[in-house]
């Protein structure tokens, strides 16, 4: 920034004018701006802008050399973003209703938060996603690896084995029906051992270990560039006890959210967090709301809330920038996360095909 004007790669005439006007360092040039520069030296605004861009490039080149890295700001047009988003992959959840309300599945480069009461299925969905992210591209998956950061200790390997086996079987069935060559090839690598060895598991016992792990995550991800999913199961648990200083907690959580957003964008990975529910005691009644406070609500891009209704599990899309709010029911079977089977008898037009008896009876009634 303190470079002498004489050393900059500008046209000699321009340099002479700058010297005559009294400019000595590159910083002064940049501070003046193109309009001021054009007025002082007597060149057109476009020429001034060009000159400043050259100066800036030179100075940035220097800074990059001395500091060993550059934090270039990314800017692109909305058109480029649209193209990127359209080719963006989704991680399917094997529950088509949930995929529909999410717009295709869990989106890459976004943070998705899953809140729910204990026992409703958050960890199950995380384990399902850790398997689903590895589905090969010819079957509609993203063919990536998964990082699983566990703070509550609820990761059961046997359950992941069950889910993975069901997923492999499902893909085998599809391959048999469609009989395409690349399906067969992909199936060779999509085996149980491969799935399990591409789930990287970290067990963090308290918030310090969690913070440390998230600081080290970019380095880990640059070594394992195929990771497309980062799951943090139980982000609320280490922050909910032993924290007298609530402002420190908010600060740490916000810092964590920022780092995760950067990781999600750089690595083109989906980040999935699970949160607990807490009771908000109102005037006359108490409601269940996601834990960690209001400011944490801004961290996630997409928020799903899982809850019970009698004995049916429901998922509500609570916050999303592109999909509307809706609720669907889901099941957790021994194979993993699945749709609820639709009821056998329906009174709609499709129902008459299922129940052929109905049509003749109404005709008889008409007669």
């Amino acid at each position: 920034m303190q470079r002498e004007v004489g050393t900059l790669p500008l046209a000699p005439a321009l340099r002479a004018r700058l010297a005559a006007a009294g400019f000595q360092t590159a910083q002064e040039l940049l501070d003046t701006g193109p309009c001021g520069l054009s007025k002082e030296i007597g060149i057109s605004r476009e020429e001034a802008l060009e000159a400043l861009q050259v100066v800036r490039q030179e100075c940035h080149g220097d800074a990059a050399r001395t500091a060993g890295g550059s934090g270039a700001t990314r800017k692109c047009t909305a058109l480029e973003l649209l193209e990127e988003e359209q080719t963006q992959g989704f991680i399917i959840t094997f529950c088509s209703a949930l995929d529909n309300i999410l717009g295709g599945g869990v989106q890459l480069t976004k943070i998705t938060e899953i809140c729910g009461a204990p026992g409703v299925g958050k960890t199950q969905l995380c384990m399902q996603l850790a398997v689903d992210v590895q589905i090969p591209e010819c079957f509609g998956g993203v063919a990536g690896e998964a990082v699983f950061i566990d703070t509550e200790g609820s990761f059961m390997v046997d359950r992941v084995v069950d889910i993975a086996a069901a997923c492999v079987q499902h893909c085998h069935l599809i391959a048999e029906v469609q009989q395409e060559e690349d399906h067969q090839k992909a199936l060779e690598t999509f085996s149980l051992e491969n799935i399990l060895s591409h789930i990287y598991y970290f067990r963090c016992r308290d918030y310090t270990e969690l913070l440390a792990q998230v600081y080290l995550l970019p380095e880990f991800l640059s070594e394992h560039s195929k990771v497309r999913l980062v799951v943090i199961d139980g982000i609320a648990f280490p922050f909910r006890h032993d924290f007298e200083d609530l402002s420190l907690r908010t600060r740490l959580l916000n810092g964590l959210a920022q780092q995760l957003i950067i990781i999600a964008n750089d690595q083109k990975a989906a980040v999935v967090l699970t949160n607990q529910m807490t009771t908000r005691i109102g005037q006359s009644q108490s409601t269940l709301v996601p834990a960690l406070g209001e400011s944490w609500g801004h961290a996630a891009t997409v928020r799903l809330i899982f809850h019970w209704d009698n004995s049916q599990r429901l998922a509500t899309l609570y916050k999303s920038p592109s999909q509307k709010e809706s609720t669907i029911a889901y099941h957790i079977t021994s194979h993993g996360f699945r749709d609820v089977q639709p009821p056998a008898v329906t009174h709609s037009a499709e129902g008459t095909e299922l129940n052929p008896r109905k049509r003749p009876r109404t005709e008889e009634e008409k007669q």
């Binding site: 850790a130 699983f148 051992e193 399990l196 060895s197 990287y200 598991y201 280490p238 740490l252």
Partner: protein
């Protein structure tokens, strides 16, 4: 891990001294500060601070395992993955029995048999592995004073008459069940914190706490302000220590 001193995180001596002037001595203090604060405190540039952060993080970050390695580890130790409850339908539903390495909670209205179940599990844990037990000691933290040693002997003698055929064997079993009567929350918490050394010295293979709810409800009246926070504080702290013990020693709790 969090309380690890910065000295052991391989930071230079002068850096540690400088940080201790600001009362930053453990990894936890270091990682709780934002980047700007760290730059001010250490007097280093942005990139240097990043490198320091990585060093400190590496000192306290957990180790990576793939799910496959975990599965292999489990399948090697198949017999010690569960404590069978000898109730066949319950074992089937639980996929083998009470899992080792995680917390299991038993709840019910009063009089259903929770304490009886716990007493039976204590007997089962002292049995040798060949009979489906864990061949180890048991730590029983009793908050309701509901544990009866006579009932213990009755269960053992009637359930496994062939094994407990002599008085000596019965006495041996009772000697390996360590009973602690704690009547207040902070006593329970203190006892849980001190369990780590006892587990190693006495070769404990099962921890039972009967019951958590009774002592918590006695002390914390939820209608009073602030008690809710204190109560959940106590519960989560106890829970995290118990989880750590269960996982570290691979025993059921």
């Amino acid at each position: 891990m969090a309380a690890k001193k910065l000295r052991r995180a391989q930071l230079s001596q002068e850096m540690c001294e400088r940080l201790s002037r600001y009362q930053i001595t453990t990894c936890q203090d270091f990682l709780c500060l934002s980047l700007l604060e760290l730059m001010k405190v250490t007097g280093q540039s942005y990139y240097e601070v990043q490198k320091l952060l990585c060093k400190v993080s590496r000192a306290c970050a957990p180790k990576m395992q793939t799910a496959y390695e975990m599965k292999l580890k489990k399948s090697v130790n198949l017999s010690s993955a569960f404590l069978s409850t000898t109730l066949h339908s319950l074992d089937r539903v639980l996929h083998g029995g009470v899992p080792c390495g995680s917390l299991t909670e038993i709840t019910s209205p009063p009089g259903c048999g929770k304490t009886q179940f716990c007493i039976m599990l204590s007997v089962l844990a002292t049995l040798p592995v060949s009979m489906g037990g864990l061949d180890g000691a048991v730590i029983y933290i009793d908050t309701e004073s509901a544990f009866s040693a006579e009932r213990l002997i009755e269960i053992a003698a009637n359930r496994f008459p062939t094994y407990f055929d002599s008085d000596e064997k019965l006495l041996c079993m009772t000697r390996s069940i360590h009973l602690y009567r704690e009547l207040t929350c902070c006593c329970v918490l203190k006892r849980i914190m001190s369990l780590e050394e006892e587990i190693i010295s006495k070769k404990v293979k099962l921890i039972i706490i009967d019951s958590v709810a009774s002592v918590v409800r006695k002390e914390f009246d939820t209608k009073l302000q602030g008690n809710l926070a204190e109560r959940s504080n106590f519960l989560t702290r106890g829970a995290s220590v118990l989880k750590y013990l269960a996982e570290e020693f691979s025993i059921p709790v």
